[in-house]
């Protein structure tokens, strides 16, 4: 496999895990705009422990997960007292605090970052991503997952049914933070280098977009959202020059086309984001869509049965 392909697979797997971390918070009605903060915790835990103590990769990943999860639970208590836009701002501020602290810490390399004396191939994040996908689908099928969806639907009525709103939210937020930490740890050992500038506000926004645009009603959403928005810029890398050549070609001079500026990819990405929000505000994958697909399958089998019986 080419280095380019394996690089894409790694970042795709990392983005999927990251998106599931944010999904668990969003699925209980909490918009988490602090994703980069939790990812940074995991990434720096892995990087620091490898570089300073020479711990093995599985051990450093585990530390990153546990640390990010603990930080998540610890800040969930104060942060989840806030609601709506205040919750979004509080999580955002949390991420700024984390990255600010790292930037000012000599021990963690400050603005220089840490180079990580460990490396994993693309299949490690991919296998982890498969495990995470299975885990989140499992969680959503349990009584706990049902309670998460109930809270997303209607907090007041969930309360009447005896759901511990605070408890479910804190646990979901904490597990989500742990997954974001895992994605950070994998990032550190896949790229063998971490610098705090890559865990910026834009990253938090992107991962939240993956989740919101993919759809928050089912566990398929983050998978589809993260995959779509990770692959799209790569596809545009080739498609965009071809498009420009074709458009200019309409006016004759197709042979002397300068390749379009890189930034056009992000213009298109932004436009698609706006379009999605207008056309499909519940996200790409909705519960009705998943149900229809299942009905379609059931319908097909029952139709077959009718044919054989009739």
């Amino acid at each position: 496999m080419s280095g380019y392909m394996s690089g894409i697979l790694s970042i795709l797997a990392i983005n999927i895990i990251f998106a599931y971390g944010i999904f668990l918070a969003v699925a209980t009605g909490q918009l988490n705009l602090g994703g980069a903060g939790f990812q940074a915790v995991g990434a720096y835990a892995a990087a620091y422990l490898t570089a300073t103590f020479g711990l093995s990769v599985p051990l450093t990943l585990l530390f990153g997960v546990v640390l990010a999860g603990l930080v998540g639970v610890a800040i969930a208590f104060p942060i989840l007292r806030t609601k709506g836009v205040y919750l979004v701002l509080a999580t955002f501020a949390f991420a700024e605090v984390i990255t600010g602290a790292i930037l000012n810490s000599e021990e963690l390399g400050g603005a220089m970052g840490i180079s990580v004396p460990a490396y994993v191939d693309w299949y490690v994040p991919v296998i982890m991503a498969v495990c995470v996908i299975g885990f989140v689908f499992y969680v959503m099928s349990t009584r706990f997952g049902l309670a998460m969806r109930a809270i997303h639907d209607d907090e007041q009525v969930s309360d009447l049914m005896g759901v511990s709103i605070r408890g479910v939210k804190v646990v979901a937020f904490g597990i989500g933070a742990a997954l974001a930490g895992l994605s950070g740890g994998l990032y550190a050992v896949s790229y063998s280098y971490v610098e705090v500038q890559s865990f910026n506000a834009l990253l938090s926004i992107y991962v939240l977009l993956y989740v919101l645009l993919g759809g928050t009603q089912t566990a398929w959403g983050p998978l589809v959202g993260a995959t779509f928005f990770t692959i799209l810029p790569e596809v545009l890398r080739d498609a965009l020059p071809a498009l420009k050549t074709a458009v200019v070609g309409l006016f004759g001079d197709a042979d002397n086309v300068a390749p379009p500026d890189e930034s056009w990819r992000f213009v298109i990405l932004g436009l698609m984001t706006i379009l999605m929000m207008v056309i499909r505000p519940e996200g790409l994958v909705t519960r009705t869509m998943v149900e229809n697909l299942q009905f379609w399958k059931k319908g097909a089998t029952s139709a077959r049965r009718e044919v054989t019986e009739g």
């Binding site: 009584r143 049902l146 969806r149 639907d153 009525v157 009447l160 049914m161 005896g162 759901v163 519960r287």
Partner: protein
Amino acid sequence: MLEVENLDVTYGRTRAVKSVSLTVGEGEIVTVLGANGAGKTSLLRALQGAVRPSGGRIRFNGRDLTAQSPAARVRDGMVLVPEGRQIFVSMTVEENLLMGAYLRKDASVDRDIASIYERFPNLAERRYASASSLSGGEQQMLAIGRALVSRPRLIMLDEPSLGLSPLFVERLFTLLGDLNKDGIGILLVEQNTTMALDIAARGYVLELGTNVLEDTAEALASNTALTEAYLGGHGETATEEPARLA
């Protein structure tokens, strides 16, 4: 079974419920009547623990529940069917019923859900359909079914007939009668005065948060001065606003 003493509910500086006392006996149907803004919904919310009363006492089967969570009340056998039949719209019919059994850990939940389907064949047909696809009347049946899965000894209903077609109102009150025959106590808050007094044994009338009258249902039903003064006459149900559909 349920004893409420001098209950106060305050929102900021507004006292929505002022020193209301009422009782519901084992297996009894009791109705609370009153015009809009009389404090009926606030009373029910306090009874279920969704708001903390600012004064008074709530006892259920001898246990003081005033400071307990809604979960504790559901465990003890009190359940509220909220106004506007607030079902979980992103869930299937079956998942809604499972939410009613959220606090139960015993193995007979499946059997209870099966008995709900026997009671409401419409729901059985649609068990894997999205709850939001049900009609208003079916949603009300689902909300009641969901409450029943928690195995209540007292079921409290907030304006269950609001926005239902006459046919479904008829079915609703038949259902309440059936539930009562099974020994479940019912606290019914209604604007449909005639039907409520018809089914209830006793009734209370609230006005501006205070309990202004308390009598047997028969006596209240024959009290025409009451219906005109506090409840705005018999024609009221026909002019009600349409129900909120979740």
